[in-house]
Each structure stands twice: as structure tokens, then as C-alpha cells.
Amino acid sequence: MNERTSDPQPGVASQPMVRFSGVTKRYGDLTVLDNLDLDVAPQEKVAIIGPSGSGKTTVLRMLMTLEPIDDGVIYVDGRPLTHMEVNGELVRANEKYLRSVRGDIGMVFQHFNLFPHMTVLGNCVEAPIHVLGLSKAEAEERAVELLEMVGLGDKLGEYPQRLSGGQKQRVAIARALAMRPKVMLFDEVTSALDPELVGEVLNAIRMLGKEFQLTMLMVTHQMGFAKEFADRVCFFYEGRIHEEGPPEKIFNAPDLERTQQFLSAVLEAG
């Protein structure tokens, strides 16, 4: 399959896969994200950490177009995501335009959000059939391949309520990947899981990250996973990137006091 890569080289391309340019998000008087600039290179894996309320989940939700932004522009693969060009000027994107650009992005949620009335296979073929226009057979072939990769080849006909949290989350990952996105967003995907189920989900992400040419942004509390898996770690604090750098740097020798405080608090708790 041509989506596979033999030699991923993060950060080589000149054009970022994702670019936040001066992005601001407010809820009433509260500024959740303040003038955010962030570039993510193709195939780069970025871990987003920080205390709750620091705006880290909002970053993913804006990129998935679940939340409108108040200021700035988000670009995906060189195209504006939140805005569209009309007569050479950027205006706020309408629903039709969003549908044309959103396909580059896939998202996995903290609470799975599987469709409870559909089987595992049904969950994974719904969008490929109705959005990508694949035939039922093509969509099923693609879905089965992905579900086998995440170790759920024997659960195709099962309904979500009969699965464990870890299994549900692996279905959600397969469902998102069946759309062949360029960018995958993981929003605290292990936070709702029992501790013993975290490993299987992280393994699935690890394996798929190697298998597909994916750019990944993940909001996570799994510092160990972030350290091992991410190319870059961004520490968010009060709506800004407070400190960022390679994981060795951020986890072993952060420059800033807030980062140190947060990490020591998290590591003590964990």
C-alpha cells in the first residue's frame, strides 16, 4: 500500500503539515489560547502536556474544526483550514469548505465516541463508504486490515458496549485511520482507561505511527510515552506554549520553573 513508508524522516520538508498562526480562542472573557504560533512538520510527533485549563485540548479541537477560532489562521498542508480565499482575501470558512479540507485530519477522543448502534466493522466502514465513496467491499477490506493491525480481527461483529475500554479505543483508532488522514489527533486517549489497559492502546499508536506516514499531535498525561514516542514536547501554560523542545530536554532539563514544577508534580503523582 502506497501510504506505508519505509523511512520516515520527521522535519525534513520545508512546508509544515500544520501551522497555527496567531491563533486565539476565547470563551467569553476567558482567553483559552493566546496568539498561538506552532508549526508541525510532516510526520512529526508532537506531545502536548500541561496542567488542565492550559488550552491543550482546545488546540486539537480547533484543528479538528470542532471549535471555531476567534483570531489567527490555521493551515493544514499549506491550505488554510479555518479560512478560505475569496477574491484573494481570507474569509472565515463556511461549512462546505470545512468539509473539503477536514478530510486530512483524524481524531481519537478521550471517551472513544464510538457509534453504539453499529458493530466494530460498521463503525469503521461508515465514513469510508459515505465520505470517500468506497464500495462496501473496499471499505470492509480496509477496515478489516486496520482492525487486525490493532489486534481486533476477531471482534468485527461485536457491538461497542461489549468491548473493554482499551478495545474501544483501538476501534476508534482504526476508525479514524480508515479515512487515511495525514494528521492524527489524540486527545487524552488513555485517560478514561483502567491502568492495565493503557499499554495496549499505546502499543497500537506506536505501531501505527511507524506503519503510516502520519503527523501526530497528542495531548497526553502519559509522560513515559511522550518521552519515548514524541519528537517534540510542548508544555502549555495559561494558553501559551511555555516551553518546548525535544523530550530529553523537556523531561530531563527543562529551562523554566513552571515546567519543572509541573513535571515534578506529575511524576510524583504517577
Partner: protein, 220 residues
């Protein structure tokens, strides 16, 4: 005045035939109400203010005026605008339209009960609004509200005697005619009452059964 069994058996076949009309009006009216109610519910969720506002106005207007007036309006007034419907069609249409407004509230409650995560997953998978409603929202929103819809089915059924106002030959109208011919109202009117009682009880029991079945499944 005493109950006359001979007369009872004499009129029973005619009432049985009329009950078919009553049941037809109920079923057709309810199908219309169930379908149109869903359309109203979805249109009222539109982000387009014109669509949303117009639908809300229509629903409120229909719900706040008496069904009998709507029946008369469709049967007697619409012909003046060139729309001529026979009595059964006019009556069934009015029943369906009237109960569609109640059904739309029921559907709305069902749709609002869908967790936000389901909408977000549909967006993340880039499903169109039509597919999102058809495949994700409606299949989850409707089963929990079937008992509430069933209550309106029974309510609609019990309002079909209003169609006698425009001379539809349903049960009530037939009973009235029989009474005026024989000057005996006791038997025909009582039989009509018994018929409604029996069918309402059956429908309510079926509805309770459906409710029990539905609470067993559909847990996320």
C-alpha cells in the same frame, strides 16, 4: 330503556365496517405525524434562522389551535383556494399535521439526548449533515422515544371521532346515523365507546411492552 341485543347484533356489522375506516385514519394519520414530526424536529435544529424560525412558528400555530378547526379549515376552506380533498383525506391530513407537532417535541427530546461526543465523532469523520442524521443521530434518538410516540398514537386514535364533523363514515358518524334512523342511541354509542376502550387498552399494553424491551437495550 333497556339494552336490546337483537338491535345490537343488527348494527354490529355496520359498526365493524366503520371501525376499519377509524383504524385506517389512525394509521395513516399517525404515519404522517411520525414522518412530518421528524422533519419538523430536524428543521427546528437548523442553524439557519429563517428555516428554524418559520418551522417554530408553524409548529406553535398548529399546536395552539383546536384540531376540529383545522379539520374544518382543510375540508371547507381550502376548496376556496382550489384545493379540494375528500373528507377522509382532509380529516387524516389534519390529524397527521396536528399530531406531527407533538411528535416533533418528542423527537427533539430524543435528539437532544444524544451525547455531544457522537456529533463530534461524526464531524471528525467528515460525515455530511444528511448522513449524520440518517446513520448516527436518528437510529439512536428514535428508539428511546418510541413509548412517548406510542402515547400520541393512542391520543390520535381517540380523536378520530372528530372526523364525524366532516361526515367521514368512521365509527362515531356511523353510530350517529344509526341512532337517528332507529331513535335508539344507547346501543350504537355504547358500542363505539367499548370499541375505543378495548383498542386503547390493547395499544397501551403493547406500548408498555415496547417500553420494557427498549429499556433493556440501548445502553451505551
Amino acid at each position: 330503556m333497556f339494552w336490546d341485543w337483537n338491535y345490537t347484533f343488527e348494527i354490529l356489522p355496520m359498526l365493524a365496517r366503520a371501525s376499519v375506516i377509524t383504524i385506517q385514519a389512525t394509521i395513516l394519520g399517525f404515519i404522517l405525524a411520525a414522518v412530518l414530526g421528524l422533519v419538523f424536529a430536524i428543521l427546528r435544529m437548523s442553524r439557519n434562522r429563517v428555516i428554524n424560525g418559520a418551522t417554530t412558528a408553524v409548529v406553535e400555530f398548529i399546536r395552539s389551535t383546536p384540531l376540529l378547526i383545522q379539520i374544518f379549515f382543510i375540508y371547507f376552506v381550502l376548496p376556496e383556494f382550489g384545493i379540494v380533498l375528500d373528507a377522509f383525506l382532509a380529516g387524516t391530513l389534519a390529524l397527521g399535521l396536528h399530531y406531527a407537532t407533538y411528535c416533533s417535541e418528542v423527537y427533539r427530546a430524543g435528539i437532544e439526548g444524544i451525547p455531544r461526543g457522537q456529533w463530534e465523532a461524526a464531524t471528525a469523520l467528515n460525515l455530511s449533515p444528511v448522513i449524520t442524521f440518517r446513520d448516527i443521530i436518528i437510529p439512536q434518538a428514535v428508539p428511546p422515544v418510541i413509548p412517548a410516540l406510542g402515547n400520541y398514537l393512542v391520543a390520535l386514535f381517540k380523536e378520530t371521532p372528530l372526523l364525524s364533523g366532516i361526515a367521514v363514515l368512521e365509527l362515531m358518524q356511523t353510530a350517529k346515523i344509526l341512532g337517528s334512523q332507529s331513535f335508539r342511541y344507547l346501543e350504537p354509542i355504547t358500542l363505539v365507546g367499548v370499541f375505543f376502550l378495548v383498542f386503547s387498552l390493547i395499544a397501551s399494553a403493547a406500548n408498555r411492552y415496547a417500553e420494557r424491551r427498549l429499556t433493556g437495550i440501548g445502553t451505551r
